[in-house]
Symmetry: C2
């Protein structure tokens, strides 16, 4: 089985390492718009060879799209036009609804499987690729009914090899849930970093010396790559606006209690939030 | 040197373990309003003995107050009334301005040193006490000019023994900075947990299966103890309101850009937030 990976960043790179190491892949071919990433991917053993797109499509049984979500949406129809009837294409993007809609009537739709391995971290690029990145994490497969059974089964084998837990849902539900569970935390973290930078402009040293693990964990996501995240926010725009509205409403409730010294209500607010731990989110 | 610790939770408990292990303390005495905590503290080797308040004050050269900030403010004047001229009292609370104001004219003010070891985590109680909790973390000493030089020097020895970096500031500056750097991230995390619980009420299982490390790190603080955090928010109320206002303003800016499809502005928003990593906050 030959695998072609388009986009050799954190996710694509980690998949290459894993599928070579496990011998799932006979050969891994890759391409990346950034020549430095491509050359790193070879040096780091992520791919056997860098190939131009046409050759990569010709040589690969499975094609993995691990590029920003807007780039996936742009390239996917062309790729489906060019592949054979036995090839399989999967993507690893963080939004699914726009993408799945855009190819719904493509004659080769059934050769595509929409997936979201939830394994991203704040770092990007092949230098951070890690064959164990996916271990015991969750992978969401969307709108599986529109994929050929045998294509789907192959994609599941890939994620099982990577030791991920597989969950099925619709692309619509995926985007709604993930807007609150992943995209909103990113916006909040970016916004916290901006609030602190704005308030303590030129006083970074003091902020630094006072920083504890609380700030560290809440601004971790603010270091994420805008080239990855702007297309995600744009593609999941409607859900994001709803999630941000919901969040501001809840935060304003806290502010109202504090302004009006309603300490009993604050205690219950905090206590209810605590219950998130009982529900095995962590 | 005998040390008395009032409040044998995470911070008080970890200090007890550390100061016994390092032999800084000849004996560590403790008390806790919660009898279970007190009995755990003995079993876990945090203290040599549990003593009633009067005996603890009599037997200890240094008294550590590691209880919620409202309880510290309530008990501190009484303790200062009762101690000898050679005893030293320090607190470990997360707010400082109200406390320092409240005892400014106390005849024994100079025997007190206001400190904030920034080492808290989302867990509380003696079961989580760890003698290495403070290693290489920061400790803020406030309004040092109001403490006797020799009392201050002893307190610095304690924190040096615990391998903390010591920073000096005023209680006013402490509360302002820490409202953005620690208290705001806690509010944001509590509020994120509430937003998700509210939106996905009775759908916790799906949320759980979709959760990645992004949500994990941003809701970590939402598991913090309301008994600790309500008094902190109440005591730092004015700064907190300012910090929340500032944050909502920044988040609304993001929402405005998204609503109006100003993607170029979003890119710069994210890019600027990224710069927090260049400033060695992490």
């Amino acid at each position: 089985m030959n695998i072609g990976i388009i986009g050799l960043g954190l996710i694509g790179g980690s998949m290459g390492l894993n599928l070579r190491k496990s011998n799932f892949a006979h050969s891994v071919f890759g391409m990346d718009a950034n020549p430095t990433n491509a050359s790193h991917a070879v040096k780091l053993g992520i791919v056997d060879k860098i190939l131009p797109l046409e050759d990569l499509l010709l040589e690969s049984n499975i094609i993995i799209l691990s590029i920003p979500v807007d780039a996936i949406q742009k390239i996917l129809p062309n790729i489906l036009n060019k592949i054979s009837n036995s090839s399989v294409v999967l993507d690893t993007g963080s939004t699914k609804q726009d993408l799945c809609k855009s190819i719904l009537h493509h004659p080769q739709r059934r050769r595509f499987v929409a997936t979201h391995p939830i394994a991203g971290i704040e770092h990007s690029g092949p230098m951070f690729a890690d064959s164990d990145l996916f271990l015991k994490k969750n992978c969401i497969i969307c709108d599986a009914q529109f994929s050929d059974g045998e294509a789907l089964s192959l994609v599941k084998q890939i994620y099982s090899t990577m030791k991920m837990r597989i969950i099925h849902t619709t692309s619509e539900e995926h985007d709604l849930y993930i807007s609150y569970i992943s995209h909103l935390p990113h916006v909040l973290s970016f916004s916290l970093a901006r609030t602190i930078l704005k308030k303590f402009f030129k006083k970074e040293k003091i902020v630094n010396t006072m920083m504890g693990s609380g700030l560290y964990s809440t601004i971790r996501l603010a270091k994420s790559n805008p080239k990855t995240w702007l297309p995600i926010f744009a593609s999941n725009r409607n859900n994001m606006i709803q999630a941000i509205n919901g969040y501001i409403h809840v935060l304003e409730e806290f502010r109202y209690y504090l302004l009006n010294k309603k300490f009993h209500e604050i205690f219950h607010y905090l206590k209810k939030a605590n219950s998130i731990k009982d529900k095995k989110y962590v």
